[in-house]
Symmetry: D3
């Protein structure tokens, strides 16, 4: 492949993906609203750009075959704060990709597009949207838009509903929802390398014993997660506070399911874990 564009390249997950994506194409264009990091990969260029501005995003797509779209505000915020980066940003990426004839968008969707479904509802990728936050609603919007661009313009899209992506599982919920960096890399790589995909949705979750979904969907992509949060079970269960009335414990979206609309759903998690979590 000649060229891949990666948005959100300075985020926790973007940082993980730069190296493997640089091996999938002759040229990797990394972009973020943040400034260029100290070192780049040999075939990588960095463009600081604001997703909310079409004029800054559009030129990046020239000559590319795919865009891996991971750029977004990664937390719940009031709708007006997410409108630019998460909603208009997604539109800008799809529209620019379409104008330049790209083949595919690989998109960081999120469990929060379906975060109000119950853990025991046996949800699969065909379950209807039940966003838990404005953050999740942006993922619903982009997924529906991606299906439309495929059906109307033939632009492929693979929407990866990422669960709890961190170096290690951070809490009892993550025993089910953890996505390891290794499995993330495999999932994105396969979404890129599969020759044709049409429009597809898949859950991004590791091979956890306690995964709340039985099947990640989109089998033809060939995703086979290898990691399992179970090694951390004893430690993390010891800290769990069972509460059957707490939405956060019985819904796929976890704390995003119980947080007030517009307020951060990561606060508690980050306080506990002290690290970066992306969902």
């Amino acid at each position: 492949m000649k060229k891949i564009v990666l948005t959100g390249a300075a985020g926790a997950l973007g940082t993980v993906l730069r190296e493997p994506l640089s091996r999938s194409a002759d040229e990797l264009v990394s972009t973020d609203i943040a400034a260029q990091p100290e070192s780049l990969l040999p075939n990588e260029t960095w463009v600081q750009a604001d997703l909310a501005k079409f004029d800054e995003i559009e030129p990046l797509m020239k000559g590319a075959e795919m865009v891996v779209h991971f750029g977004a505000v990664v937390d719940e915020k009031p709708f007006p704060e997410l409108l630019g980066p998460n909603y208009v940003g997604a539109y800008n990426v799809w529209e620019a990709a379409s104008q330049h004839g790209l083949r595919r968008v690989v998109y960081a969707s999120s469990v929060h597009a379906v975060g109000l479904w119950e853990n025991n509802a046996d949800v699969d990728v065909t379950a209807h949207h039940r966003p838990d936050t404005f953050y999740g609603l942006a993922k619903c919007f982009a997924e529906d838009m991606g299906r439309m661009y495929w059906e109307k313009r033939g632009l492929e899209a693979v929407c990866l509903r990422i669960f709890s992506c961190t170096p290690e599982p951070q809490n009892a919920r993550a025993l089910g929802t953890w996505l390891s960096y290794g499995d993330l890399t495999q999932l994105v790589t396969r979404a890129v390398e599969t020759p044709t995909t049409g429009f597809a949705v898949a859950f991004g979750v590791s091979n956890n014993d306690r995964s709340p979904i039985k099947d990640h969907g989109a089998h033809f992509l060939g995703y086979r997660p290898r990691d399992n949060a179970e090694d951390w079970a004893e430690t993390l269960l010891a800290k769990a506070q069972p509460d059957p009335t707490d939405l956060a414990q019985m819904r796929l979206g976890g704390p995003f399911a119980s947080v007030a609309l517009g307020e951060s759903g990561m606060a508690g998690i980050r306080a506990l874990s002290g690290g970066d979590e992306e969902e």
Copy 2:
């Protein structure tokens, strides 16, 4: 009921609804981006306001119990032109309604939220979104948002997926998709008067012999359409140009299914019919 707010009151359908809604409440506040019409109903007030501006919409909700949200650009346009009125406008209505403790939003959704489904797919209200245009995508966005406001904040919503609402059916497709003004009025009135609704979706289509859906959904609302486009069948079929390869003929969304994204889907219809159609 004390007070109802009607948005889009100057549109073709808003104009139809003003009188019946004025009978459902002590006070009707009609709003539109257009100026006040010459005459108002006795208990009606008119406020010219831009849906895209929260500060203009928010004060209207004070003291209201329900908002009947029909305001929007009613045609396909480039996304940036729809972003304010159709996307942000819907957010403004729901957020303002929630802040003022309204009970319910009755929303003019559209068949175009599912417009790429085939006529013979036996679609019901549980079928997943397949928007045919940016116009339809805005309806998907608002429906998902409405479900979230219900689940997170207890604000009810009834989303009415209106098909082809005109005084008379305009073309062969409308033999199936017509919604008469009488049936529209019944549907909106019942959506308003039903004591509790939670979140619900229903198709707004008359009792047409050739309706592409077998069931309008949300039976507890008590919608029983009475009109049937069949009286116009002979005339309208005579003009039909069968073309099995034309998406416009085999998809629920009709011409919106085949039009290019961002280009008007009403052009052809209006040329043929010379009238107002709202979907």
Copy 3:
């Protein structure tokens, strides 16, 4: 048909059914724990018997072809009070019917077997059990038992999930859930006269505009309800107290959905209506 047995013959619905059932067979044996009423029909005999006692029920079945089983305590009570008449009583009827080679049990099941389903869940007869009370749980038990007797012993059963069966609709909920006496009679008569039925479940509800179910199921029985609660809409809606947080308003089971287990779910209804309601 030679002989039909009717249990619960002294109840409100049993009283309605005696006359039409007496016309469907040469002999009608009516039974109840209550004493014989003043007058009987020409081909009717009355046997006072306790459903909870197999020895009292078993002999009634001799020579019968069908039993129409409407006998039960018709309200929520603590489980031990329902165990005899509603649980063991149902077993006694099926087992006695089977021992005497009857062809069919026509059973007064109830909406309360599925009473915790939401009004807008588009429930049909294939939805799983969600009993709202010990009263409803007894209906679940009998339905599962009826299926088993059919599959293991070839005893047919038609389980009629009766909604709100009263002379007139009593409250706003009944605008959707009313079953008129005329439609009850039609439903039971057709369940009796259909030549073969196997095991079947059907909803007993009139042709109400606001019915919370779109389809009563078991079409081969030929049930076509004729009455519609809509004539009472204006009066009854005027009394409605909308409350979206009240389970009684948004679940099929109405007040049984929100009442405490073991406490009467009819109290409020009867206070309002002053009459007999059976569900």
Copy 4:
């Protein structure tokens, strides 16, 4: 429409359809293995031809827009006897239609394509095939072939699963399964006149109280049956012999469900009714 071809024009149903189809096109070509009847309609020509012979069928299609394919042996027979007219005949019709660029095949499929489904299984047009005879298996074959010609070559097909089509209902089963000649005519006429259909399946049954299916499918065709076998209920039920262990009574296919493969399923019916029945 310029030209319609009708196969099986000398059969009971073909005879009913000649007149209405002659009004739908400038030219009607009627064909059958039987000789020309005494009188033809003004715009009708008759060609005696063997469906099993491609060379006899192919030329008839020249210049036609649609073929209404009702020709077949209408009873169960050993497979080798049905192979020519019912299997190869269907292939010949579709292939010839495709070669001559026809728009659509309207096909007399049959309930016997799904005849082993139970009356109380709530079957709709999406239920999988369960043929009851070699006769029904031919209908499965043609339906699957029709879908393929649509998907691969764009030749439309409307497959009408005809139930018990006779002047009057003949027996207790027909209280549910009757299709009146009037409703047949409506169904075929609408299948012909609908501008575009793609591939569709619909049940051909009248508006009977006791219909074993709740919905005839393919609503966009606009089929609204008007007749109801219920007027014959008292007479026909009086003759019914209930037998819950007889497949003929509890399966959609009736006597075809219980007859041995290869043996006539119409024998008993015709003995009872003395008339023509087509399914």
Copy 5:
């Protein structure tokens, strides 16, 4: 956890579970209608009690967090013999648990709640009840009751539909239905330790090649069976007597599917295996 109550502690499976459950809580109260075994675990107390008597069961729950309810007559019997221990006993356990504020019931349900489903029906935990015996019907009753206690009173329940739980697989059927003691222990342990569960159903079957179900359900519990009956395949298949007309061979319930209601379904199995089997 402070305290767990185990019913049926003297049964074959109860005996297996005592040790692992004693490690999950500070205190294990074991109860059975049988007398105390010779030796107890350090933190275990034994109470001889009759499940059918509320007064004997109720006091055991005081101060407990969970009850693992495995007590029952484990075979098919006439209904009156199962009524006390299996039906009333289940009610007593749930009601007592609810009165004392326990968090959860972990219940030994059984494949026999769905035992009349065919092996090739691809059954999952959402399939409706099809009990094969009065024994299985008691499991249906308790599952429906458990769902109701969760929905009405917030008492969690995990219903484990145990298949053929023995030290080794006993016959050809068990190549699919075996549940090893190790996997039983894992399943119960995870049902206990999962912080919140709501109401859930899962199949208790090992990781057998020939399992008649593809998925055990309730993934968030984290059950990952490790054993596989395939090691016994050659030996056990050699003894198999294929008979496609025998319900015992093609239904999930095996011999319980073909046994007469009220007669022992274990007789044949025990004669073959000479051991304890619990289902």
Copy 6:
């Protein structure tokens, strides 16, 4: 088992199956339209016979318990060329098996019975037929016929929808669709040795990372594929030509999905691979 008949014994897959099937029975009768190979297995006899001729096939079944029916033209051809071997041949096998009282037909069905389904449609064995060719249509015909023989005459059938069965995966599509010879052998052997099967359908595909189906169905057969095409991924992906508009790339049937009806679908594959592929 006393005797097994294998049809298509000289084909690529028949050749693979002769040895394992010879171990499953005292006597193996291998038949093909081709002449006997040079060497036979000790308990094998060879009969040259034409599947299209009942008189040649019928005598082979005498005394057999099962027939493994793999004989057919293995490519797309005009319908008249497939009619004898693939359609009538299948009838001859089932009818002859039924007349001689065989227990079971194990049938080489094909992915091409459902070849027009999309890769990302999450197809399972309950998806309706969507044949891609006359070759696939013959498989639909035989599957429907097999179900009917089971339901009407009690002749069991296991229909194995074989994907791409070759010694090694031949192209990028086969990374998902490959069926190794080892897994084929396991699948057929288990279909033969399972004591009772009724009518069942299963997908024949190896344990490939990129399998377009998530589940092969018919779990009670105990099929556990062991091979995985992923070892060939790097080599085969390098040759892939992504084209989202090419049906061959996004449908289960691959090149059969895009080939013209009646024209060979194997041509391209064989040109690339130079080997035998059977689907």
